[in-house]
Amino acid sequence: MSQIVVDNLTKTYGDTVALDEVSFTVPSGEFVIVLGVSGSGKSTLLRCLCGLTKPTAGDINIDDRPMTQPRPEIAMIFQQHNIVGDMSAYSNALSGGVNRAGFLKSIFQLQSKAEKQRALEALETVGLLEEAEQKARRMSGGQQQRVGIARALVQRPDVLLADEPVASLDPGSAQDVMHYLKDASNERDLTTFISLHQVNIARKFGQRFIGLHDGKKVFDGYREDLTLEAVDTIYGDIDTDGMFVGDEQSEADSSESDRQTEATL
């Protein structure tokens, strides 16, 4: 169905090489997390995948169609939410489906009832049904990001892309947002592609991991492959002592590792 095939993707900005011949295939329905330090090319990869940035070389095929410009079936969630602050959460969510309504219909919010129901259900999925009529500007960072997710869901995508969706959130809200992302992805059977830089969160939610370092793919594997050594190759020479807590350990321990991870990164 909607598998992502990236072949020798290269993107340069002047002399800077943001992506260096990255290739991978993501089968339909997988929950993939891209890891890497700031400037490793995560955002560029995501922007290329959703068609906002044109690659210098290489091909991206989603659903066996080359990605040359943004498509409605591929939804993007941004780090800075990029929702419209002056509109209500409901209007923001509804705006995800404007591609299915005409210009005047969308201006006067005359979308079909099915569409409106979809917007409300998306808000329910992200736990914001009660706040539907609130102005997005007055919401907290975590809530705004969830509105962003709702908007992406109303788009009825096959592929969900998220560029560091939790980077500007506190650990609690970050966990919330990741939970909602994971739930939405499972519920609607979406191929999900998220960039993150918190290893602990990534490990908690991810199914498959792709590691970028200086624009090159340095790691590609599933949960059991993501060992300390693997993290070392992705993040270079950093102190990874105590970064990993076994999966069997309790929540309290994992919040301990949160703090340590943040201190190390």
Binding site: L110, A114, R118
Partner: protein, 378 residues
């Protein structure tokens, strides 16, 4: 607006057939497949929207009434409106010669006498003064009169004839007005001067803006005599009001972060202003200044009408002489000047504002045809 309620009542053809994500099939009753909570929220949103629609209708009705009042106040109900008169007057501005009268069956086709305009532009040196620059290429060069060499023979504005005078008024006015506008703009900002005192500067700027440039020219004529100098001083003065206001507004919207960061470094007040505030708005200040330059060149045409020189003066002189063809020629010259100034300024501003890698001037110039073609096919 009133249609939307009716619209919500009817079932969309799409929704009738299509299975909903949760498996149910949509009915015509309000969101039957949805849960109670969703239905409740849906009804609440519907009520809000209905209230808002009533509000908007009231607003539109109010505006329509006000507009009708305004039309009457502007004497629109009492005009001697006549297309025939308008059309006959157009002939004065657009001289025509009729060709092809020899062909039987047609009364001939009138053509616009572009040459009439062109002759006048050349005759009065509206856009180009051929006398300028003649001495530069003379050999051996004559350096005996430095002033004459640099300002008459190398006259960068004078070479554009009357348009050059207009351009010079706008340019020098902007250059002289800029530092004062910057000073007033910064001091008028609430973050620099405490609340009641910043209004000293804001009020000064409001006062300057309240009087149009053409009136300032009349005032400054008494100071420096009738001519382009008075116009330049007036436009510089006007720039303080207009550009300063834009600066103040721009400064209101900057972020607190860099200011706080500079404060914690122990910087003094002027340093905070420069590093914390002005550094954030540098490109937008330059862009606004270019915009005001555009406006000032236009204003230079207007103030020319009161005799301050340049294209504006030519327009009013030709009108007084009832030479409407020549007047039209001058208007065309003004059009050319304004368009060129705007094009230049627009491109420069776009270049300043873009975050993309800067093109070299060479690329900018020689790559233009290709970029133009690319934009066409896109």
């Amino acid at each position: 607006m009133s249609t939307h309620d009716e619209h919500e009542q009817e079932a969309e053809p799409e929704s009738g057939r299509e299975p909903e994500p949760d498996g149910g099939v949509k009915q015509s009753k309000p969101l039957e497949s949805a849960s109670a909570a969703i239905n409740e929220q849906f009804e609440s949103i519907k009520a809000t929207r209905r209230r808002r629609a009533v509000g908007w209708l009231g607003l539109i009705a109010g505006l329509a009434f006000l507009t009708a009042q305004g039309l009457v106040a502007a004497e629109f109900d009492d005009t001697d409106f006549g297309w025939a008169h308008f059309y006959s007057r157009l002939g004065d501005y657009f001289p025509t010669t009729t060709y092809f009268e020899f062909i039987p069956g047609i009364p001939g086709i009138p053509f616009l006498d572009v040459a009439t305009y062109w002759e006048f532009m050349v005759q009065l040196e509206l856009l180009y003064d051929p006398d300028i620059g003649g001495l530069i290429f003379q050999f051996p060069p004559n350096f005996s009169d430095i002033y004459a060499f640099f300002f008459q023979e190398m006259g960068m504005f004078a070479i554009f004839g009357e348009a050059g005078i207009t351009l010079a008024i706008g340019f020098v006015g902007t250059i002289f007005g800029f530092p004062l506008a910057l000073l007033f703009g910064v001091l008028g900002s609430e973050r620099v001067t405490r609340f009641p005192f910043n209004f000293i500067f804001r009020a000064t700027m409001s006062f300057i803006r309240a009087v149009p440039a053409i009136v300032w020219t009349l005032i400054f004529v008494a100071l420096v005599g009738l001519g382009a100098a008075a116009a330049t001083v007036a436009i510089a003065f006007n720039t303080i009001g207009n550009l300063g206001r834009l600066f103040v507004d721009e400064l209101e919207e900057i972020e607190d972060g860099p200011i706080e960061a500079m404060t914690t470094t122990g910087a003094n007040k002027p340093q905070i202003v420069v590093f914390g505030m002005l550094s954030q708005v540098r490109t937008s200040f330059i862009a606004w200044t270019l915009y005001i330059f555009e406006i000032n060149v236009r204003a230079a045409v207007t103030v020319g009408v009161v005799g301050a020189g340049g294209l504006g003066t030519v327009v009013v002189n030709q009108e007084n002489l009832r030479n409407f063809e020549n007047m039209m020629a001058t208007l065309i010259a003004i059009f050319i000047l304004i368009i060129l100034v705007e094009l230049f300024s627009q491109r420069l501003r776009a270049r300043l504002r873009s975050d993309e890698e800067r093109m070299s001037w060479r690329e900018l110039l020689f790559g233009f045809p290709k970029r133009f073609a690319d934009s066409m096919v896109r």
